[in-house]
Amino acid sequence: MAHPCRLLETGFNTGAFNMALDQTVLEGVASATVLPTIRFYGWKPWAVSIGYFQGLEEEVDTQACSRRGIDVVRRITGGGAVFHQAEVTYSIIIPETHPLYRRKVLDSYELICQGIIDGLKGMGVSAQFAPINDIVVDNRKVSGNAQTRKLGCILQHGTILLDVDVELMFSLLRVPSEKAKGKLIEDVKSRVRGLKQLLGREVSFDETVEALKRGFQSALDLDYQTGDPLPEELKRASVVAQERFANPEWNQRR
């Protein structure tokens, strides 16, 4: 029997709002006021998000981001720095009582990432899960994912790359030296791929979202209930964005 799952597509929003809405939906799923939820979204303006355990100024040239009007936000999930430019981001939140819950973190990463793998397969891209949290095509990374477990729920979010502007990315991230930057740029160019490079054509946000919707539906046996965030969720997300994700105290805590 398929698992009821609320499906949200919330368009393009700021880094603070995106992270706040993930947290808000987590709270709603935890209190059973909303169904388990999968959400697809984008970032406007472009943004850099850092993992919970990263040091902000160690990883990000915040002044360069500010000059270019690029948001900077700390996630509640671990993992590395991510430049949100040409990509689709998803989040999925399920309670620990759910049939899709897996006690072992690696098992739940693998299960949820199968949704992305199935979605990419539908686009003609053959991808594999690369533990802990990556999806690769011929050993080149096309998706990174991050998970946290709070309030009796799993929240996993991640990105699927449409294109990669590696030079721009490294103008925003801290690197030890110009020499290291050159090497890192070449290294990342060889190890990371967007769907544009993999398919040899432009790939739109909408096309990718449709493929991912089908992929998650198939891999996780989801019965989608399409909707919008509740008014109270949007209100709560605005508060959380202001109090936490747009707050320098949060973003600079490490």
Binding site: G51, Y52, F53, Q54, G55, E58, I76, T77, G78, G79, G80, A81, V105, L106, I132, N133, A146, Q147, T148, R149, K150, R254
Partner: protein, 96 residues
């Protein structure tokens, strides 16, 4: 003295460690990086409780605290953290 170490030991993601060391004791330590730890708050308690650890007991104490706080780490190990801390100490010594 304050030491800074950066490294990517075996079975670890990139780790950046800053430690305040007095004599043989670690007064405070901050362990940053792109690893995962569940629960995150438990890892922060581990960091706080590492204060007062003798350098020579660091790896053992880190592992013990992770177990006590029931923290599961991915991309971070006790030996990896100890290795990067040692890098920091060595770098400080060589810069004097």
């Amino acid at each position: 003295m304050v030491v800074h170490g950066v490294g990517k030991p075996a079975d670890c993601k990139l780790l950046r460690i800053t430690a305040e060391i007095e004599g043989d004791l670690i007064r405070r330590i901050a362990i940053h990086g792109d690893f995962f730890a569940f629960p995150e708050e438990g890892f922060e308690r581990v960091e706080a409780r590492l204060g007062g650890t003798p350098m020579g007991q660091f790896e053992e104490r880190f592992a013990a605290l992770m177990a006590e706080e029931a923290v599961e780490g991915y991309g971070i190990t006790a030996s990896g953290v100890a290795e990067v801390l040692s890098i920091g100490v060595k770098n400080h010594g060589s810069s004097l």
